[in-house]
C-alpha cells in the first residue's frame, strides 16, 4: 500500500465497465507523460497498472465502458458517490458502445448465438452510457479516445478549469489539416460533417471516409448528410450500418438511422 496519510497529491481512479480496455490503455500509451502524471497525482485505483489501491473518496474518476449488468448498475452509483469529479472516457461510457447494438435486438437471442448455456449469462437487455445512471462532469469521446485529449482533461480537472473540448465537426479538422474533401473529390461516403472532432480528421487523412467513432458533433444535421450520401449512390442499408456502429445509441445517430430504417432501410 502507498503511504496515503502523508500524500497530499490529488487522487486519480480508473474504473472499467463493459469495454475493450483501449481507453484506459490510452493513459499507459502516454509514454512520454505517464511518469510525470504519476508524479503529480496519486494513482489511487488503476488495476491495469498496479495492485496498490487506496480507498476513496477520489478527486477524479475516469470511467471506461458501458453499463450492461445489474451489478454494474449498483457499482456506478458507489463510484459516483466516492468521486469528486467523474469523467467518462470513450464511446462505451459516453454512448453505450458497439455493444449497444443489442438494444435493437433480443438479448436472449444474442446469448444463444454466442453461448451454449445462455442461462449462465447474466446480462441486461441494454447497454447504456454512464450518464443514464449518474451525473457525469465531462464526457470524453472517441473509440478510442485521443490520448492528448485525455491528458488535457486530467490537467483541466486537477487545475479546476474546463477541458479544451470543442463541439465542431470533423470537417473543421480536415480543413485545418489541409485535406482534400474525400466526399467532394472522390465520392467517398463520410460521416465527417456530423461527427464530433477530436481525432484530427484521421480517416480522411488516410483516404477513407470518417466512420463516426467520436459520435455526433454539436447540432449535427444528419438528414442533410443522408440526402447527400443518397445522391452519391450509397445504399440505404449501408448508410444505416454506418450510423449504427460504435455510437449507435447517441441520439442524433440513433434517430436518423431509425428514420432511414423506417423508410426502407432493409432495401
Amino acid at each position: 500500500m502507498s503511504p496515503v496519510d502523508t500524500d497530499s497529491r490529488p487522487t486519480l481512479a480508473v474504473w472499467k465497465f463493459a469495454s475493450c480496455d483501449g481507453c484506459q490503455l490510452s493513459l499507459l500509451d502516454c509514454e512520454d507523460e505517464l511518469l510525470a502524471v504519476a508524479d503529480r497525482v496519486q494513482i489511487a485505483y488503476f488495476l491495469e497498472a498496479t495492485r496498490a489501491t487506496v480507498e476513496g473518496p477520489y478527486d477524479l474518476s475516469l470511467v471506461e465502458g458501458s453499463v450492461t449488468t445489474a451489478h454494474d448498475v449498483e457499482r456506478i452509483q458507489q463510484i459516483r458517490s466516492a468521486s469528486r469529479r467523474l469523467v467518462t472516457i470513450g464511446a462505451c461510457a459516453t454512448a453505450g458502445g458497439i455493444q449497444a447494438l443489442r438494444n435493437h435486438s433480443d438479448v436472449d437471442d444474442y446469448a444463444r448465438i454466442v453461448y451454449a448455456t445462455p442461462s449462465y449469462i447474466s446480462t441486461l437487455a441494454t447497454s447504456t452510457p454512464i450518464s443514464a445512471h449518474v451525473p457525469v462532469d465531462f464526457e470524453l469521446r472517441g473509440c478510442p479516445i485521443d490520448r492528448r485529449q485525455l491528458l488535457d482533461v486530467i490537467a483541466a480537472f486537477l487545475g479546476d478549469r474546463r477541458p479544451n473540448g470543442v463541439g465542431h465537426s470533423v470537417c473543421v479538422e480536415c480543413k485545418l489539416r489541409g485535406n482534400v474533401c474525400v466526399m467532394v473529390a472522390h465520392g467517398t461516403p463520410c460521416l465527417g460533417p456530423i461527427t464530433h472532432a477530436g481525432c484530427g480528421a484521421l480517416c480522411p487523412t488516410y483516404q477513407r471516409g470518417c466512420y463516426g467513432c467520436f459520435g455526433p458533433a454539436e447540432d449535427p444535421n444528419p438528414a442533410s448528410l443522408s440526402s447527400q450520401l443518397d445522391r452519391l449512390g450509397i445504399e440505404r442499408v449501408d448508410l444505416v450500418r454506418m450510423l449504427r456502429s460504435f455510437n449507435v445509441e447517441a441520439v442524433p445517430f440513433r434517430d436518423e438511422s431509425a428514420r432511414l430504417d423506417e423508410n426502407g432501410g432493409s432495401r
Binding site: 483501449g22 499507459l28 488495476l47 491495469e48 458502445g97 458497439i98 453461448y115
Partner: protein
C-alpha cells in the same frame, strides 16, 4: 478478506491486477489437496458474434478490433484473412509485408506493456510500474520508450495505436511511401538495442521452479516466424489448417466464466502464446534473436511459464529486427488494396496475436452480408491450461500461507498475460480451504 469457521477456511483477494480486463480466481482446498481451481471470467459479455450478423463483409476489421484495445491489429488481421479466404482473394507482396510490419508494431507495443508494466514488478517485488519507477526510473523509461516505438509503427501504418483506421479487407486505404517508412528505421534500430538489453535484464530474474507439462500449440509458416498465418502445429504432432480447427477444438461453456473454454478433441487443454511459438519455431527467428536467446540460455525445450517473459523479450527483439528487414525491402505498391468482391461462402482465418493464435470464421450470403461469425481468442483457449497449471502450482505450494500463496498464484496467472477483455473478464482470487 478471511473467514474462519470450524475447519473451514476461506479467503479472497478482491481483484487480480495488472492484467488486461478483469476477472477472478477461485481455489478450493480440502484435506490438504486442491479440489478445484476456477479462473472466473465475469467481465460482461458484449456479444460480438451476434452483432456481426447482418453486417457487411467489409466491416469485421473495424468491428472486431473493438474486442480488444491491446491487440486490435490481431483482430483486424485474422478478420481480413478469413474474409479474403472466403472471397477467394490472396493479398501478397508489399501489402502482405505492410500487414506483417503493422503486426510487428503491435507485438512490440503489447509485449513491452506486459514485460515492463504488468509482469516485471512481480519479480522485483513492486505493486506496479509506477512504484517501480520510484526506485528505478530509468528501467521503466526504457520500457516506455520501447513501447512507444511499437506504437509509432502502428500509428504510421494504421493511423493510431488503438483501433487503427487504415486496415481494410484487401489491404489498406492508404499505403506509406518508402521514405515515410525509412524515417522510422533509426528508431527501430534503437528499439532493437533496447530489446537486447531487455532480454538480458529479464533473463536475470529469479524464476520459480515450475513446468507446464502439456501440449504447446502455435502457427507455423515455413521460412518465417509465425505472425500473419500458417498451419497450426503442436509439440504432439498436431498439423491442421484453419478450416479444420472447428472439428479439432471444442469450446465448453462453464458456469464460472463468460469466456468459453477450448480443448483439443481427445487431447485436452493446450497452451498458446510466446512459449509455444518459441518451442515450435525458434529456428525461424532472425540470427540476432537466436543469438541473444542462446546467450541467455533460452532453448526450445523451455517449459516454465514464468520464463515466458524472456521469450516475450526475444520476440520484441525479433519484431524490431523483422520490421527493419521489411522496411529495407519495401517498395510502395501501385494500389493500396486489391479488390475483394463479395460472394456466398464460408471463410476461415488465423494469425498469431501477442497472446497466441486467434481464429475467425465468417459465413456470408451472395451480397456479402454476414450470416454467421465465430471468433476464438487466445485467452479463452488458454483458460483451461491456466487452470490446470494453477492447480499444479497450488498443489505444490500449499505449505505457503494464504497471503503468500494467493500472491504467487496471481503471478502464475500473470505470466500467461491473459487478456480478459478478449476472452470477456475480472480475476477475483478466492481460496477456500477446509
Amino acid at each position: 478478506m478471511t473467514h474462519r469457521g470450524g475447519e473451514e477456511r476461506i479467503f479472497s483477494v478482491d481483484a487480480l491486477a495488472r492484467v488486461e480486463g478483469e476477472g477472478g480466481m477461485h481455489v478450493v482446498i480440502r484435506d490438504g489437496h486442491v479440489q478445484d481451481v476456477q479462473l472466473r471470467i465475469y467481465e460482461p459479455p458484449r456479444f460480438f458474434e451476434a452483432l456481426l450478423r447482418g453486417r457487411a463483409y467489409t466491416e469485421p476489421p473495424d468491428i472486431t478490433a473493438r474486442i480488444c484495445g491491446i491487440c486490435p491489429v490481431a483482430y483486424q488481421m485474422s478478420a481480413c484473412n478469413a474474409i479474403e479466404a472466403l472471397c477467394g482473394v490472396t493479398v501478397d507482396g508489399p501489402l502482405a509485408d505492410l500487414r506483417r510490419l503493422l503486426y510487428c508494431g503491435e507485438w512490440i507495443e503489447s509485449h513491452s506493456l506486459h514485460i515492463y508494466l504488468l509482469h516485471a514488478p512481480d519479480f522485483l517485488g513492486y505493486d506496479g510500474a509506477i512504484e517501480l519507477a520510484a526506485d528505478h526510473r530509468d528501467l521503466v523509461r526504457r520500457g516506455l520508450e520501447l513501447k512507444k516505438i511499437g506504437n509509432q509503427l502502428v500509428e504510421l501504418i494504421g493511423g493510431r495505436p488503438i483501433h487503427p483506421v487504415n486496415v481494410k479487407v484487401g489491404g489498406f486505404y492508404r499505403v506509406p511511401s518508402e521514405r515515410e517508412l525509412a524515417q522510422l528505421a533509426p528508431r527501430l534500430e534503437h528499439a532493437r538495442q533496447l530489446a537486447i538489453d531487455t532480454v538480458r535484464w529479464v533473463a536475470g530474474f529469479d524464476f520459480p521452479d515450475h513446468v507446464w507439462p502439456g501440449e504447446l500449440v502455435s502457427l507455423r509458416s515455413p521460412g518465417e516466424y509465425p505472425i500473419t498465418g500458417g498451419r497450426l502445429v503442436s509439440t504432439l504432432g498436431l498439423d491442421i489448417g484453419p478450416e479444420e480447427f472447428e472439428e479439432r477444438v471444442v469450446e465448453e461453456h462453464v458456469a464460472h466464466s463468460t469466456a468459453l473454454h477450448a480443448r483439443l478433441v481427445e487431447r485436452g487443454e493446450y497452451l498458446l502464446g510466446p512459449l509455444a511459438r518459441f518451442a515450435l519455431n525458434a529456428h525461424e527467428l532472425s540470427p540476432i534473436a537466436q543469438d541473444v536467446a542462446r546467450e541467455v540460455g533460452l532453448s526450445p525445450d523451455e517449459r516454465n511459464p514464468f520464463r515466458s517473459i524472456v521469450v516475450r523479450a526475444v520476440e520484441v527483439l525479433y519484431a524490431c529486427d523483422e520490421a527493419l528487414t521489411i522496411i529495407g525491402r519495401y517498395r510502395q505498391p501501385d494500389r493500396p488494396a486489391v479488390d475483394v468482391p463479395p460472394r456466398a461462402g464460408v471463410g476461415y482465418g488465423w494469425t498469431e496475436a501477442p497472446r497466441g493464435m486467434l481464429w475467425h470464421r465468417y459465413e456470408t450470403d451472395a451480397d456479402g452480408t454476414i450470416t454467421s461469425a465465430r471468433i476464438v481468442p487466445p485467452t479463452s483457449q488458454n483458460q483451461a491450461a491456466m487452470e490446470r497449471d494453477l492447480f499444479n502450482f497450488v498443489e505444490r505450494h500449499m505449505h505457503l500461507g494464504d497471503h503468500e500463496l494467493g500472491h504467487r498464484a496471481e503471478q502464475v496467472i500473470r505470466s500467461y498475460d491473459p487478456c480478459i477483455s478478449c476472452a470477456t473478464h475480472f480475476l477475483d482470487l478466492t481460496v477456500d480451504r477446509a
